[in-house]
Amino acid sequence: MSDFCLPFGPQHPALVEPLHLKLVVEGEKVVDYEFKFGYSHRGIEKSLEKRQWIKDIFLAERICGICSHSHTLAFTRGIEALADIQVAERAEYIRVVMAELERLHSHTLNLAVSFHEIGFATVFQYMFRDRELVMELLEMVSGNRVNYGMNLPGGVRRDIEPSKIKEILEKLAKLEGRIDYYTKLIEKDNLVRKRTESTGMLSKKKAIELGATGPVKRASGISEDFRKAGYGAYGKISFYTVTEKGCDVHSRFLVRIRECAAAINLIREAIKDMPSGPIINKTPPVINIEKGKETVSRVEAQRGELIYYMRSDGLTPYRVKIKTPTYANYLPLGECLKESLISDVPVIVASMDPCITCADRVTVVRNGKETIVRKDDLKKM
């Protein structure tokens, strides 16, 4: 029976994106697993090298639909560091508002999907309904529901006017009540707790060892958040980070829902402290950066830390290397799947909040066959 293989993906109702998980099962128990990636490799890093800096921002935005603002934020911050561009004071606050709105929409989406994975269709529908409030806000502020296109070197492209601020605060108040409701639901509901508690364990030691990031790491009792480094306007706004000690799927749920509440507070703070003034320091549409200059740009996206390495080649980047949080969370995901049951696999995968297309960076093909890259091969490169 031990050679009974259950394919999980690349096409599977529980996965929105193509990830292949080969599960070797004994009855309901997962004995072994194997990952396979590369179904949606798009070669974005290469195309980034062929365009001008500003056009690249819009391409970087399309790496991920959910964390599109984080990607542009990291990329624009990189350009600003390379070309020594001063950012308008007000723009920093608007960026924070956008990033936190995006965090809200990403976390509510992930929680809704997680509820769907444990077969709780009602809460799934309710959460999508309430998430619509955030989507409307994003649409109102930026003009688009996804891929907001807000960032340019030196500032942002759209202002948040006082009339919009009023609506943002109104809708956030409405949303806050709902977030409280879901927090209580996750804490109290018997079946939800039964399904999520002590499933997908990732101990504190393993989380550090395997390099987990974002809410996954925070759910294992490690308080680490790059926002605390105070990039952008984060240094000037008071905010708190959330940690849980449960190390299981349930505490990942809790971290996400509490981060939603924290994000609402953060948006309020940012709106309160927002200085007046211009939203952008005008930059020319074509930026020329000294050849060979390089930088590393980090931001805290919703799923964890997003890292951009950029090296200039004049009008275009010479190389852009992106490390998405999902990539960092693949090894912890494998750790969580050990000794789990088939019924728990979907919710464990969802609790990692994977964005598979973001992380599909490279497929190695040798002699017409895909090969596995080992650690030694990487050292040779």
Binding site: F58, L59, T122, E139, N144, N147, G149, L185, P285
Partner: protein
């Protein structure tokens, strides 16, 4: 138990979803919809063509043809932003229902000899 109460409440309240094709969606001010062009103010500076991240806009200055491929357009609004004229020659409308049966229909070509009537355009197939 919270869900049980909410479920009963929702049973008697009106659904939030709308009958989409029958009831048009509410769109906020400043929505980035389909890109359109106004030839009256255009000075043929080609800024929109140069700055389009998706290379959707193409301009023929000699023949005075301005065209956009909506299939390529990513609705970033960059063309509108860089347009130097006042009022802006390239502008974003609130049109969002852009699906058609043929790919060619997505390509809008604005030609000179139709300029007498404002906003009129010809769709090449």
């Amino acid at each position: 138990m919270g869900v049980a109460i909410e479920v009963l409440k929702r049973l008697v309240s009106r659904p939030v979803t709308t009958k989409y094709p029958d009831a048009p969606p509410e769109t906020p001010e400043g929505l980035r919809g389909k890109v359109e062009w106004n030839r009256e103010t255009c000075i043929w500076c080609k800024m929109c063509e140069m700055n389009c991240p998706a290379n959707a806009i193409s301009i023929d200055k000699e023949k005075k043809i301005w065209s956009i491929d909506t299939a390529k357009c990513i609705f970033c609004g960059r063309c509108n932003e860089v347009c130097p004229t006042k009022p802006k020659s390239v502008y974003l409308t609130k049109k969002i229902e852009l699906a058609t049966e043929r790919k060619e229909n997505l390509r809008d070509v604005y030609e000179e000899h139709h300029s007498q009537e404002k906003g009129q355009k010809e769709q090449k197939t």
